[in-house]
Amino acid sequence: MSILTDEDILVPADVIEKTLSKAMAMGGEFAEVFIEDRHGSAISLDNKRVEELSSGHDRGAGIRVIVGELTGYAHTQDLSEKGLLAAAEAAAAVARRQQNSGGVIKMGSPTHQSEKNLVKILPETISKKRKVELLNEADEIARSGSDKIAQVQAGYGDSRRRILVANSDGLFAADDQVRTRLSVLCVAVGDGGLQTGYETLALTAGFEIFDEYSIDQVASEAARIAISKLNAKPAPSGILPVVIKSGTGGILFHEACGHGLEADHILKDSSVYTGRIGEIVASPKVTLIDDGTVYRGWGTSRIDDEGHPVQSNVLIKDGVLTDYMWDYLRGRKDRRGSSGNGRRQSYQHLPMVRMTNTYLIDGEDDKDQIVADTKYGVYVSKLGGGQVNTATGDFVFGMTEAYLIENGEITTPLRDANLIGNGPEVLQNIDAVANDFDICPGTCGKDGQNVPVGCGQPTLRISQVTIGGTAGA
């Protein structure tokens, strides 16, 4: 599966060289061509019926020119020499201060092309009929366990994104990214009204994920959550200890400190973590990593969207802040290299610093013992998302499956609510970390751009955090 031989994306090296040379000749100090070709298919089932099959194709190029502190950007859907040169001219217009003599850019062969592809079965080789069957199966399983399941919505999606990045420093790299997902939303009806359960399977991999994981795991889990919440009581209001089950709790770190460790916020002094390298920012039980190389992680790729190989970066080691995350532009400003965190939603977007797969590594506590040691608190088995203000560090995260802990035992299910805390304080309050690591997929939104990410952690406890329910705590 070689990338450059596919005629869909073929842009000859000499056209890329001319494009970069044009951008540099017009005054660029740095120029970059990002070419993207994306095919996707999606199928949705709702109300017991496959409602729609959708497929799409987008391709285009984004051209970035940097002069001093200025970035010029233009994108085009026209990948011909004429189209690319016009975009290069538009991007360079912002930089048109002085005319450089303009060195001629020469490209070698793109790197990464020969690396073994992780994808065993390209989703595009699977029949639509088979994909439709998956959803019908999910619907059947979700409804089979209980007559309380009133509605099931299931979605299948796959995407194949081929990118090619070349820049005036001679970088020339390509990647072929395949993602496949299945999600199920169940609605249960009981005396107290409607409740929901959601579960998803999503990996940077091909259709083989359905040989390895059963649909049953996804569909039954969504149904189980919805039904378990039918007897849910309002969540407490106030400060309590909270135990967060392994997996989706990684959202906590994504919000509590992940965004605040992105170098764009750091360089603009809009993060509570600015200037704190080498300081204790978390409990000694916290070692946090952002890792674009996680095997088939939802935020995994071989190169980032600036062509740099992704890395495993230790951000916090035993509670001490060790590094931020960097893209090319912010690394350049700080006279250091990228950490492989330059990502963009599509060729229509400027790259910026983004997380890949962000996770807390295993500790030494036992997950059951953590619950047993908690006299009264909340056990969160599923988080549904969050939001942070990096400047103040205040963040929220929402629980979509949670229970009370009473006398060391998990008891009454709780209705959905947000939790709120301050990143640096919550990180200090992590007083137990188990050894049952798990990782989950998510979508991260920043500045209007969405990218796939992974979040993970072992079961852990926060000694105190505010729970935003309606019942007296």
Binding site: Y73, Q77, Q151, V187, T196, Q387, V396, G398, D416, G468
Partner: protein, 447 residues
């Protein structure tokens, strides 16, 4: 500018017997400039275009899109959509919108002036905004971004049932984010101004909003948990109305996912509460002559004096419900099929302005910002819990600043507990207009 309707017609002319085809063709040009420390930090300019094709055959729907306006791409999309339709489940209600004879209004949503403005003038607006913010107040320690952005977009919808609709719209905005205080006590605030051409943009408004909204939160602290009355700022109210509209979607109703499904005609809200969806109002940011299936936009009374009167329908959900489409189909571009959504919600104003409402409420919490809407509001169960920042109301006055708390209730209860609706309607860049709103008996969670 390519002839969008010509291309849409060409696609539809391929309709075979027993088939329905809809072609949606769009084109847009956009500029985005960001200033920082008195200089341009980034400038993006781009054109983009695409085609979305729906094919319905034997009551099955298929869809495909392509990011190009070439005839080859159009053929590819049509063929793929046709193939996709073969694998969908059959449903009698599936079909394109039937023309219903309702004439569309002419809305003035386009200004040639925008395309005549130079890039330099646009960039200068971002730079001026940055400078004005930096000089506006000594407590400002950082202006993290000052943006100018615009788009001029056109779209054509053509269907084999005889619908032809063409729209064009220009939009521009300036927006800024500022940080105030020092590292021990930092608060953030944003301000913006939106219009259809550069002359509409009010720099001072963006600056004043960003500065006043951030500085008045300085010194904010967590509060003790309590039950109290809450006054929502206009921007927050617009968000709340958008959430509410999701529960009034006819599609969610017929599929058993609306908490108001069985409650038509019932008293859902306080009698002062009248909610209208009206995309024909030219002041609404989401104003539009047509919906996303090409039907003429119309005014829909959703809740009148607290009573549930109507749900929002597109043609599919209307057929399922045995109702008529309310022309409430929305789509987020050529990559998606139409679905039900609100775009111009309007809450009938009450008698008092913000200051008077705060006085009348007496004691409570004025909420300026909310966070975590997607993680803490479940529009199916009605559970509502969001992070909040704002100011305590004591003896009818705004007093100490509050942060890091949540406010919670349920959507059902909040509607019943509405105390006051402001008379201070403002058209915001949102699917709803903004107005001050007071709701009683909410749970504040703090320490």
């Amino acid at each position: 500018m390519p002839e969008l309707m010509d291309l849409a017609e060409k696609i539809v002319s391929e309709t075979q017997s027993g088939e329905q085809i809809e072609a949606f063709v769009s084109w847009g040009i956009s500029t985005e400039a960001r200033a920082y420390r008195g200089e341009v930090e980034s400038l993006s300019v781009a054109e983009s275009a695409g085609i979305g094709v729906r094919v319905i055959s034997s009551h099955r729907q298929g869809f495909a899109y392509v990011g190009s306006l070439s005839e080859k791409a159009a053929k590819e999309a049509l063929q793929e959509a046709r193939d996709n339709s073969l694998f969908a489940g059959e449903d009698e209600a599936v079909g394109l919108a039937e023309p219903d004879g309702i004439r569309h209004g002419e809305l003035d949503l386009w200004r040639d002036e925008l395309s005549r403005s130079t890039t330099e003038a646009k960039v200068n607006l971002a730079i001026e905004l940055d400078k004005a913010c930096r000089n506006a107040d000594p407590r400002i320690r950082q202006v993290t971004s000052s943006d100018y952005g615009d788009s001029a977009a056109e779209a054509a919808i053509c269907t084999s049932l005889g619908i032809k609709a063409q729209t064009r719209e220009s939009v521009c905005y300036i927006a800024t984010d500022v940080l105030v205080g020092d590292h021990e006590d930092t608060m953030s605030g944003s301000g913006y101004s939106v219009g259809r051409e550069l002359a509409d943009l009010v720099l001072a408004k963006a600056v004043n909003d960003a500065v006043s909204r951030s500085t008045r939160l300085l010194g904010a602290k967590k509060q003790k948990s309590s039950q109290l009355n809450v006054v929502f700022d206009k921007r927050v109210t617009a968000t709340l109305l958008s959430i509410l509209a999701g529960t009034l979607s006819g599609e969610e109703v017929v599929k058993g996912r609306s908490l108001f499904a069985e409650r038509m005609g019932e008293q859902l809200a306080a009698s002062s509460f009248t909610l209208i969806e009206d995309p024909t109002n030219p002041f609404a940011f989401g104003a539009s002559s047509f919906d996303a299936e090409g039907l003429a936009s119309r005014k829909v009374m959703l809740i009148e004096n607290g009573q549930l009167k109507n749900f929002l329908y597109d043609s599919y959900s209307a057929r399922l419900a045995g109702a008529a489409s309310t022309a409430s189909a929305v789509r987020s571009g050529y990559k998606s099929t139409p679905s039900v959504g609100a775009k111009a919600l309007f809450l009938s104003p009450g008698d008092f302005d913000e200051k008077q409402i705060i006085e009348k409420v007496g004691n409570g919490f004025y909420v300026q910002e909310i966070s975590g809407v997607h993680s803490g509001v479940n529009p199916i169960s009605g559970d509502f819990s969001v992070g909040a920042e704002g100011l305590m109301i004591r003896n009818g006055q705004l007093t100490d600043a509050v942060k890091e708390v949540t406010i919670a209730s349920t959507i059902q209860k909040m509607l019943q507990q509405i105390m006051y609706i402001g008379n201070d309607v403002e058209w915001l860049p949102s699917s709803a207009s903004g107005v001050t709103l007071a709701v009683s008996d909410m749970s504040l969670s703090g320490n």
